[in-house]
C-alpha cells in the first residue's frame, strides 16, 4: 500500500504524467461547460416555446428559390430547400476554383514575365482585386451587368438560340437521343486508352530513351474518338432553343445574373491571391538551377516541367489550399446579390421558423466538411510534390 501511494506521488512528479492529468482536467472542464451551456440553451428555448431539433426539415418549406440544380418547388420540404442551397454553394465554388486556378496561374506567370506590359497588367490586376472587399466587387459586377444589359423583351441575340438579357444568359439545351450513350462510352474508352498508352510510353522511354509526345497523343485520342462515334451514329443530339413567352424565356439552359456575378467575382478575387502564390513559388526557385539546366542545353519546356514547376509547387500548394477554403466561405456573400446559396436559404428558413441554432450548426457542419475535404485533397497533393529524402 505504502509503495502504491509513493508510486502515485512519484508519477505526479513525473512531468509527462502530471501534464497528462492537467490536460484531462481541462478537457473535462470544457466538456462539462459545453454540456451545461447546451442544457441552459435548451431550457431557455423550451421556456420561450421555441421549437428545437431537426424535425422541421421534413415540413413544407413554402419558400421560393429562383435557381436550383435539382427539382424544387415551394411544396418541397425545408430539408430539400437546404439541400438546394448546399448544391448551389458546391456548384459555384467548384467552378470558381477551377477557373480561379487557371486565371491565377496566368496572372502569377504574367507577373514574373520579362515583358513590361504583361507584368504591369498582372500587377494591376492583383493589386486592385486584392485591395477591394469582395462584397464591393460583387455588388459592382452585379450592378454594372444589370445596368448595361437589355431587358428580356429586347434581348441581345448574337447567334441563333443565344439570348443575353437582364434575366440572364440563355443557351440552347442539348437534348440527347438514342445512341448518345455510345458516344459517352467512347469517351470513357478513350480515357482508358490514353491511360494505358501513357503507361506504355513511359516504359518505352525508360527502356529505349525514346520520348513520345504523350500528352498530345492522349488528348487527341480523347477528343477524336467520341467525335468519330458521334458522326458515325448520325449526330444523336438536337438543340432546344429558348423562346420568349410573355415576360420570360421558356426552355434552354440559363445562367442567371446572380450566379454569373457571384462566379465572376469569386474567380477574379481568388485568382489575385492564387496569382501571388504562383509568383512566390516561381521566384522561390533559385536562379542558379535554371542557369545550370540551360548550361546543360536542357530544352526550355523540360526546364519548366522538370526543374521549375516541381519546386515552385512546393511553395504554391499550401498557400493555395487556404485560398480554396476561403473561396468556399466567401461564396456566402451570395446573399447580397440574391443568389440562393446555402447561407441565403438557411437565413430564409431562420426567418420563417426561428430555429437559428440548428441552421447555424448545419451551416458550420457543411462548410467544415467541404473545407476539410479540400484540405485533405490538397495535403495529399502537397505530399506528392514535397522533396522525397533519400
Amino acid at each position: 500500500m505504502k509503495i502504491l501511494v509513493s508510486q502515485i506521488k512519484q508519477s505526479f512528479n513525473n512531468i509527462s504524467v502530471s501534464g497528462l492529468v492537467g490536460q484531462m482536467f481541462v478537457l473535462g472542464l470544457i466538456f462539462y461547460g459545453s454540456y451545461f451551456l447546451l442544457l441552459t440553451t435548451q431550457e431557455n428555448l423550451t421556456a420561450r416555446g421555441i421549437d428545437s431539433g431537426f424535425k422541421f426539415l421534413n415540413s413544407e418549406a413554402g419558400l421560393p428559390i429562383s435557381d436550383s440544380l435539382i427539382e424544387y418547388s415551394p411544396a418541397k420540404s425545408y430539408g430539400t430547400a437546404f439541400l438546394v442551397g448546399i448544391l448551389n454553394t458546391l456548384f459555384v465554388s467548384f467552378i470558381a476554383i477551377i477557373f480561379a486556378t487557371i486565371l491565377g496561374v496566368i496572372v502569377g506567370v504574367g507577373r514574373t514575365s520579362k515583358n513590361w506590359v504583361i507584368s504591369k497588367v498582372s500587377a494591376f490586376f492583383v493589386e486592385t482585386l486584392r485591395n477591394i472587399p469582395l462584397l464591393l466587387t460583387l455588388l459592382f459586377i452585379y450592378t454594372v451587368a444589370l445596368g448595361t444589359l437589355p431587358r428580356a423583351k429586347t434581348p441581345f441575340n448574337p447567334i441563333e438560340g443565344v439570348f443575353l438579357s437582364r434575366r440572364g444568359l440563355y443557351l440552347p439545351d442539348p437534348i440527347a437521343h438514342d445512341g448518345f450513350g455510345l458516344v459517352v462510352a467512347a469517351f470513357f474508352a478513350a480515357i482508358a486508352i490514353a491511360y494505358f498508352f501513357t503507361k506504355w510510353a513511359k516504359k518505352l522511354q525508360i527502356r529505349t530513351g525514346r520520348a513520345l509526345p504523350k500528352t498530345l497523343i492522349s488528348l487527341l485520342v480523347i477528343i477524336v474518338l467520341p467525335l468519330l462515334v458521334f458522326f458515325i451514329l448520325g449526330k444523336p443530339m438536337s438543340l432546344e432553343y429558348a423562346e420568349l413567352k410573355g415576360f420570360n424565356f421558356v426552355g434552354g439552359i440559363v445562367l442567371k445574373p446572380e450566379f454569373s456575378a457571384l462566379l465572376l467575382g469569386l474567380i477574379l478575387y481568388t485568382a489575385a491571391y492564387i496569382g501571388e502564390n504562383v509568383r512566390s513559388g516561381l521566384q522561390s526557385v533559385p536562379a542558379g538551377q535554371i542557369e545550370a539546366a540551360r548550361a546543360l542545353r536542357v530544352p526550355k519546356s523540360v526546364i519548366i516541367r522538370k526543374v521549375l514547376l516541381p519546386q515552385a509547387l512546393r511553395v504554391t500548394i499550401p498557400a493555395t489550399t487556404n485560398d480554396y477554403t476561403s473561396l468556399v466561405k466567401n461564396s456566402s456573400l451570395a446573399v447580397a446579390i440574391g443568389y440562393p446559396d446555402m447561407v441565403s436559404i438557411g437565413g430564409t428558413i431562420i426567418g420563417q421558423n426561428g430555429q437559428a441554432i440548428e441552421i447555424i450548426a448545419m451551416w458550420m457542419a457543411v462548410y467544415m466538411t467541404i473545407n476539410l475535404i479540400i484540405s485533405a485533397l490538397m495535403n495529399w497533393l502537397n505530399s506528392r510534390v514535397q522533396i522525397v529524402e533519400r
Binding site: 431557455n44 421560393p64 450592378t143 444589370l146 420570360n248 437565413g347 426567418g351
Partner: protein
Amino acid sequence: MKELFQFTKVSALILGLAMITTTASASTLEDVKKKGVLSCGVSEGVPGFSNPDSSGKWVGLDVDMCRAVAAAVLGDPTKIKFVPLASKQKIIAVTSGQVDLTSRTTTWTMKRDTKEGADFTAVVYYDGQGFMVRKEDGIKSAKEMSGASVCVTTGTTTELNIADYSRANNLKLEAVVFDGKKEALNAYASGRCDVFTTDTSQLASLRTTLKDPENHIILPEIISKEPLSPLVRHGDNQWKDIITWVIFGLINAEEKGVTAANAAEMKAKSTDPTVQRMLGKTGDLGTFIGLDNDWLLRAITSVGNYGEIYERNLTKTLGLERGVNQLWSKGGILYASPLR
C-alpha cells in the same frame, strides 16, 4: 491540439448563444429601468415607418411607438437605442434579448406568435401585400404577370405569400430573393425584376425613393392580410401588457380627442371620466402594468395620439390615406380595448 482548438471555438459560440438566452430571463421592465434606455429594433430604412431623417434622427410610425413606450416607462421619449434589424433578424433579436422591443413592420402570424418565442402586442397598422410594376409593361392586373421575375426580401411573409400566389394562380413567377429591402428595390429599379412586391404601405413609400416614380404603378390586387404589430419576448407578460396598452392608449386618445397639445389641459379640465382615467387624474391604471399614473399622459404629450402619429408620418410625407386604419367609429377597423 488542433482539434481541441476547433472544439473550443465551437464551444465559445454556443456559450454566446446560451449567455444571450440566460441574461434575458429577468424582468424586462426592471432591465430597462436599470439601463435607463429602451433598445428598440427598427427597420434598416422604410420611409414612414422607421427611417433616419436628414439629421440622422429616427422618424416614422414604428419609431413613434418606441418613443411612446420610452416616455411611458422611462419618462423620456429620447432615451432609446435604435437597433436597425434586417428582416430575418427581427424576431431573433427580440427573443434573444438583444432588443427589448421590435417595432418593425412585422406581420402577426400564428407561427411567429406560438412557435418562435415571440409575443405580439397590438396591431399598429393593417396592411396587405401588393405589387409594383413598370407602366411600359402595360399590365393592369397581377394575374397577367405570368413568367415575371419578382424581387423580394428574405425572411418575410411576403416571400411566402408570393410563392403561394404563384402556385395558386399557376403564374410561374421567378422570385429573386435579397437580404435587404434596399437591395431588392435596387435590383427592381435596375431592371433585374419585372415586379417588386412588399406590403402596399411600403410600396407607396419606397416608390417615392425611385428615380422615376411616375413610371411605376401599383397593381390593384392585395393578396394577403398583414396586420403589423410590435413584438416582445414570449413569457414576460407584464412587459407585453405595457406595450399593448400604450398602443391601445394612443388609439383611445384619438377617440377622445386628446392630443399632444391639449393633453395637459384636458387632464386639468376634462370632466369625462374616461379621459380622467386615461390621463391619470383618477383611478390607478398605471399600477396595473407596474408604472405610475402619468404613463399615458407622457406618451401622448411626446408623440401625440394615433391619429397625429399617422398624419405626421404617413399622410403628410407619403400621401397615404387612413383607409382601413381609420377608427372604427369613422368607418375603419381600428378598435382598441377600453381603458378601465
